[in-house]
Amino acid sequence: MSDESGLWILLAGPAGASALYWALYRYYRNTDKSHAFEQDTTVKAAPVTGEDRKIDTVRGTQERRIRGDNVGAWRARVSRLR
């Protein structure tokens, strides 16, 4: 095992402690719970329309995802079109 990965494993203690703290805190206090209206409400939607235009290419990036990926963050508002 290299030196680098050996140092990396020393983070296990603090990471494990804070993960357990937050997991238990949320289990007791349920601060992350709210009504999942996106799934629970009866929504009748017409088929989604739209268009996709290729505008650019990215070469040699090390990021696994697009920067600012918010496809799953439905409740985070972005700038509003008026």
């Binding site: 402690a17 349920n30 209206f37 017409a46 989604v48 650019d56 070469r59 600012g68 799953g72 972005v78």
Partner: protein, 440 residues
């Protein structure tokens, strides 16, 4: 003293307007029209003089005097038969079923035809000067009976034992269009709360455990607006599709690189929502988890609002209630926020091909029509006040009065939780050190 034979003359109508009006002009008197309709052709006159449509009138005029009488014997001692939607007369045991608003007012139909803002009569704006204390003159004996609509909707006359309910849709927000009666009994709610807390005892605050008495749970009717909407949403952003993945560098400095195509992604979706519930009390609608635990009550939504019944105060006998204090216009920003969230969830399926994700940058919402119906929904609420800074924190454990869904906030004993976290961290760290020493 004699009364004048004729009432004083009405003020004369303003002189006819000449030229085109503009929004800067003082608006004309309500119901007035600049030209005498009698001089106009018949089709136009008929149209002008036709009565204005009342959007959705849910008032129960037969209950106006505050007495809900048993249709069989006329007694006013009426209660909800728990576990059903039936009203039962405590005197002759006659049972009957209320009218479902869904069918009575066609609330489930024509959502795609909704235009403008349709507000049911129980969801109208609250007038600031309307008192929440209401007094009735008992029709049985003439005594004055006062009801505080902040928390109760029924009262019993002390003298003749008549039971009164507030059925008239007064403009203080206390009388909604519909009510969803309790189905879950108190002992059932107590058992659910006990089970919920039993699963969270180890790290719970000691004072909370000592004082835990789920029998103190109260049945509360909380005010909600049930909103139907017909909307279109447009969302725009950038999406990336991976075209190549490769590694560079030698053994130790190996790095993974990606190539991707960037797309401009535009999406548009038209949809209708049916029965979206929104808290219509300002305090309950504030879901700031730093300051309160209202998110607990929010999390036990939804209710089977399709089964809501036309308002009758007898459903509330024996329960408390909270009054609505928000008007439709003040709730609109929260509705639009939730509609945008729904739109984003709807389009998520159409951008799966972007395996490196999508960054939405702009979103727009066009609300074609909304329909607002105010409702009282049943919640069993257990509360515990934890003292602390800024007045402490009020912890709720809530049970949905229809489905039995339970959610709660159990205060934690911080030192116990920290100790457990530190102990786990120490064990993990010791293991990590052992691995480092063993492999070096």
């Amino acid at each position: 003293m004699t009364t004048p034979a004729n009432p004083p003359p009405l003020p004369t109508a303003p002189p006819p307007v000449t030229g085109l009006g503009s929004p800067q002009d003082v608006p004309p008197l309500p119901g007035s029209f600049p030209v005498d309709p009698g001089t106009l052709p018949e089709p136009i006159r008929d149209e002008l003089q036709a009565p204005d449509p009342v959007a959705l009138d849910t008032t129960a005029s037969e209950l106006r005097d505050g007495l809900n009488r048993c249709p069989k014997c006329g007694s006013t001692d009426i209660r909800l038969k728990l576990g059903s939607d039936l009203l039962v007369c405590q005197y002759c045991r006659n049972e009957w079923h209320g009218t479902r608003v869904e069918e009575a007012f066609g609330l489930g139909e024509g959502l795609d035809q909704l235009r403008g803002t349709v507000i049911a009569s129980g969801a109208r704006d609250i007038q600031a000067d309307t008192a929440s204390l209401m007094s009735f003159r008992c029709t049985g004996c003439g005594a004055e009976v006062t009801i505080n609509t902040e928390s109760t909707m029924t009262a019993r006359c002390h003298w003749c034992r008549h039971v009164f309910g507030i059925n008239e849709q007064i403009a203080n927000g206390a009388v909604p269009d519909a009510v969803l009666p309790f189905h879950i009994r108190k002992d059932d709610a107590v058992a659910r709360i006990r089970q919920f807390v039993d699963k969270r005892r180890l790290f719970a605050l000691k004072a909370f455990k000592d004082q835990f008495t789920p029998e103190n749970v109260v049945g509360v009717y909380l005010p909600y607006m049930i909103v139907d909407g017909n909307v279109s949403a447009s969302i725009a952003g950038k999406g990336e599709v991976q075209t190549r993945q490769y590694t560079r560098g030698t053994d130790k400095n190996k790095r993974t690189y990606y190539d991707a195509d960037v797309y401009q992604v535009d999406r548009h979706v038209d949809f209708t929502v049916d029965d979206l519930p929104l808290e219509s009390s300002e305090q309950r609608g504030n879901l700031d988890v730093q300051a309160n635990t209202n998110n607990i009550i929010n999390a036990i939504l939804p209710f089977d609002t399709k089964n809501a019944l036309k308002w009758n105060a007898s459903y509330l006998a024996g329960f408390t209630s909270e009054k609505r204090d928000l008007d439709v216009e003040r709730m609109r920003p929260r509705l639009e926020d939730q509609l945008l969230s729904i739109a984003r969830a709807q389009v998520a399926g159409s951008v799966r091909r972007y395996d490196r994700g999508v960054r939405w940058e702009q979103e727009g919402l066009e609300v074609h029509g909304t329909r607002w119906v105010s409702m009282y929904l049943p919640v069993w609420l257990y509360s515990y006040h934890q003292p602390g800074r800024n007045g402490g924190m009020l912890h709720y454990i809530a049970v949905n009065g229809r489905t039995g869904e339970t959610m709660g906030s159990v205060p934690v004993q911080q030192w116990k939780l920290l100790l457990a976290a530190l102990a786990t961290g120490t064990v993990l760290e010791a293991l990590a050190l052992w691995i480092v020493v063993a492999t070096s």
